[in-house]
């Protein structure tokens, strides 16, 4: 235990003895790997703070999970989160931590005691480096997750084409999650705008398989339950042939080749129900 204690003390001595010089070396080593993509002042501030926290934590032990290291962990978390957001690679992020090892790299003249201290630092830095990478990965996952969510929202605009006619242009892959969003938005917009004609345009959907068709049919049925008439447009020749080969029945659902045809159809429907609207749209 006493040897253990001494090793710890020696490590703290080594790190705090020439603090200015070592921090300077560390900053220089790290800034080299980042190739000027982070300002020297910013990096210097970050690493100086981290170094001070590390030396302080080391005074009470080397277990990086201990309470004493909470500040070190917080600083590392912040560092890797920032790096992930700024688009640095995992290597560039982790190198900032691993470069700490080089500061006490032993030579042939290094005393046995100092080598032991170096090995202790090595073990600690490895753990902290892994912690950094893990935080980095977690942040990236969060970013990807929120982007996917944003995309879900972005990709489903419901637009009003005319008094009483709304349309959803669908683009890309139509999975269950997206269909759910589309359906909710479409039905809500029908209510909000008092429309009773809806057009779902699938020009931007690359392939209509049975799952996509099933989702479309459900949306149409739901719109019908609310008293709205739903048209599916944007059925290109290759999609039409595929749907026939698959054997999907669209039943009495009106489908059109282009959005323009669907709008014409919707306006005609509006007109037969309400001549005033037709007169307005003719003008």
């Amino acid at each position: 235990m006493t040897a253990e204690r001494r090793g710890s003390e020696r490590l703290v001595d080594l790190l705090s003895g020439q603090e200015e010089k070592l921090v300077g070396q560390w900053i220089e080593g790290v800034s080299h790997t980042l190739r000027g993509r982070l300002s020297a002042g910013e990096l210097g501030h970050e690493l100086r703070e981290l170094y001070a926290a590390l030396v302080a934590a080391l005074r009470s032990g080397e277990d990086w999970r201990a309470e004493a290291f909470s500040e070190v962990r917080a600083l590392l978390t912040e560092l890797s989160r920032n790096r992930a957001r700024q688009g640095f690679t995992p290597t560039e992020t982790a190198t900032a931590v691993f470069a700490l090892k080089d500061l006490l790299a032993p030579s042939s003249e290094t005393a046995q005691e100092d080598i032991t201290a170096y090995l202790r630092l090595n073990r600690l830095v490895d753990a902290l480096g892994l912690f950094t990478v893990e935080t980095y990965a977690k942040t990236r996952e969060e970013i990807i997750g929120s982007q996917a969510e944003q995309l879900l929202e972005l990709s489903t605009p419901v637009v009003k084409l005319w008094d009483g006619v709304v349309a959803v242009p669908l683009v890309g892959t139509l999975d269950s999650a997206r269909t759910q969003v589309v359906m909710e938005k479409l039905l809500q917009t029908l209510v909000d705008t008092g429309s009773d004609q809806a057009i779902i345009d699938i020009t931007g959907v690359p392939a209509v398989d049975t799952e996509v068709a099933q989702h479309l049919l459900k949306t149409v049925v739901a719109a019908r339950l609310m008293g709205a008439e739903c048209t599916i447009s944007g059925i290109r020749p290759q999609i039409a042939q595929t749907i026939v080969a698959l054997g999907i029945q669209f039943g009495d659902i009106v489908t059109k080749a282009t959005l323009a045809d669907a709008l014409k159809h919707a306006l005609r429907r509006l007109g037969t129900e309400n001549p005033a609207v037709a007169a307005r749209s003719a003008r």
């Binding site: 392939a207 398989d209 099933q214 020749p237 290759q238």
Partner: protein
Amino acid sequence: MNGQSVTAEEEFSTLPITTNDDVVRARQLVRALAQQAKLSLVDQTKLITAASELARNTLVHGGGGVMRSGLVERGGRRGVTARFEDSGPGIPDLDLALTDGWTSGNGMGLGLSGARRLTDDFTLASKPGAGTTVSITKWVR
């Protein structure tokens, strides 16, 4: 359907199918191959749709598996082939499974039979308890 005489021209690539995203990936992979083989737009769409159905079957009914796909050549004709393998529960009655509108899940029951109509070569091998393998090929006309 003489799928056996297909000669592998290039190394087939293997794509694991374990999530919904993999179904999208399978579709993209097959699309790239179909474009590379210069299939017509209609044939591309048919093949992609068939691959999409089978990939989803692999995921939903087979509990996940792999897709092996690549370019093939037979008698001077180029084609794209994709094989879907899973080690799921298998299909007890092949004829029933290939009947339009019959489904063991809550889909439309058109995926397997539709995929057969969408492609030129279609082979289905399955044993209860020993998984299912479906191969499809579309040839350049």
